[in-house]
Point group: C2
Chain length 301, copies 2
């Protein structure tokens, strides 16, 4: 079924203990779409500035996702992010950020996108998320992500997002901050009680925790991945997860578990190279192969 992501496209500079890259394709929208496209069609709503390099534009086009909703805004500049990871790559510092087009008006949603049913609202302000949500009257499943900034500065608006979506995907630190709980399990429980159908708490190298209205799941990260750059792991996790839900058309506990596993597997490829490099060198067969391997690792005979 029709899947859409609304999210950022960025120009990233990233330094990790294994190397460094400058001016590469980044942003939650790019990562999400690059992961989701393995599972079916993906529509992208996003804006870049007139400075967006032809090379990155070409990379985006080569993903094969629907870019009708990609606005190249004259007179604006593209979102830029620079970050440096610690020796343990679960931690990083943002060394520079220019929001640019991200804090201007939202990109327009094309008429042809209005029938989208599976909606992923990547990180932007809760007000923007609410406005975007309204542009999809045929929505069947909506998930949103957020960051600490908005939980601190726009808590009420985010609470309204929580009332209007089916599921959240959120980092453990943010989940605990938002709920005032001191561990991820209690935080997930508290968020479910706010009226969600399910909550996915991302724990980085420790995997993910799912609190679904019908039960729990907890999945570890895929241990064999070669960690080069964790940037985009969370967004590609969300992309794989959401795209599997869209492909199957339901949100039962068991489908969610499959979706979490696909998300985990796609994210395990993301981190094996900088930017989208690894995601653009694999095939669906690679994903399915590692998925089988991961399922087998989890199964206890």
């Amino acid at each position: 079924m029709s899947l859409i992501v609304t999210g950022s496209i960025g120009i990233d500079c990233v330094e990790t203990p294994t190397g460094q890259v400058d001016n590469v394709l980044g942003g939650a929208g790019s990562y999400f779409a690059a992961a989701a496209r393995f599972f079916g069609p993906v529509r992208l709503v996003a804006a870049v500035g007139e400075d967006f390099p032809d090379e990155l534009d070409g990379q985006l086009k080569s993903l094969g996702v629907d870019l009708e909703g990609l606005e190249k805004r004259v007179g604006s500049k593209t979102f830029r992010w620079s970050g440096k990871y610690h020796e343990n790559m679960n931690r990083r510092d943002t060394t520079a950020v220019e929001l640019n087009v991200l804090i201007e008006a939202l990109p327009p949603v094309p008429e042809s996108y209005r029938d989208s049913e599976f909606i992923f609202l990547a990180v932007t302000s809760p007000q923007n998320q609410l406005e975007l949500l309204e542009t999809f009257p045929k929505r069947k499943l909506v998930m949103a992500d957020t960051i600490e900034l908005y939980l601190q500065t726009e808590r009420d608006a985010f609470m309204e997002v929580v009332q209007r979506v089916d599921g959240l995907v959120i980092n453990d630190d943010e989940a605990m901050m938002f709920t005032g709980e001191t561990d991820a399990v209690k935080a997930a429980e508290a968020m479910l009680a706010m009226g969600l159908k399910f909550v996915v708490v991302k724990k980085g190298e420790h995997g993910v925790l799912l609190r679904h209205q019908d039960g729990w799941a907890a999945l570890p990260a895929f241990p064999q991945a070669k960690l080069v750059d964790p940037t985009g792991a969370g967004d590609t996790f969300a992309g794989g997860m959401m795209a599997h839900l869209a492909a199957t058309g339901d949100m039962s506990l068991n489908t969610l578990k499959q979706a979490l596993a696909y998300g985990t597997v796609v994210a395990s490829y993301t981190i094996e190279a900088f930017s989208l490099d690894r995601l653009t060198s694999i095939t669906r067969d690679d994903i399915d192969g590692r998925y089988r391997q991961y399922r087998e690792m989890l199964a206890i005979e």
Copy 2:
């Protein structure tokens, strides 16, 4: 097959955000044995002082484990530990500790224990672990645990332990410190390369990671447990794990995975009350029921 644990018996005072208890039964040997007894016979080698209270002695006896190797040493005092947990109970401070009998001579191993095949060397100095190891000429599978102190002060002796045992069970912080690696996956890989058959890295609320010579496994903590007091979680995890290995008599990757799951389930009960209170109120049926629930949670259809 015959399972033995060599480890401490302690008198604990514990404070957590949910409550406080004073002078309760603790120590790695007690916790390990209380968990392992559900799976088959357990022998315990340990020493207490003449101050060991009758009430705790009665509790220990009521576990139904073989206490021929329990020495009540005249003129000595029992190991005591006091600790206070933080709001997030993954962290704690030791507020008082008296090693007492633990730093005296090792308790003698009874002649009737010398045919033990499955040996768990709970935390003591590596020199003690090596000496204990030698008293079991029929050993088939030996696992050891350790703490940061011995990795810092007796690294060479611990390296010798590593050469002589089949598997290690170790906390993530200690695994990283020991290997100089910055994440648990790399630390487990590095330890396996030291010649072990398998390494189990404990990550507290984030579950466990297994590096086995035939592959990997990663298991989350059981999310539904009601956390009251985490003391003994790691020791009862080890008890459930090792006792399942002893009951099945092998150490294949799949048996290890079952063993990790049993360990996780037993530990999930341990933390639901102070001291051994929960472990002495459940039955093997409870464990099997939660084990099925846990397996089902992990399985992806």
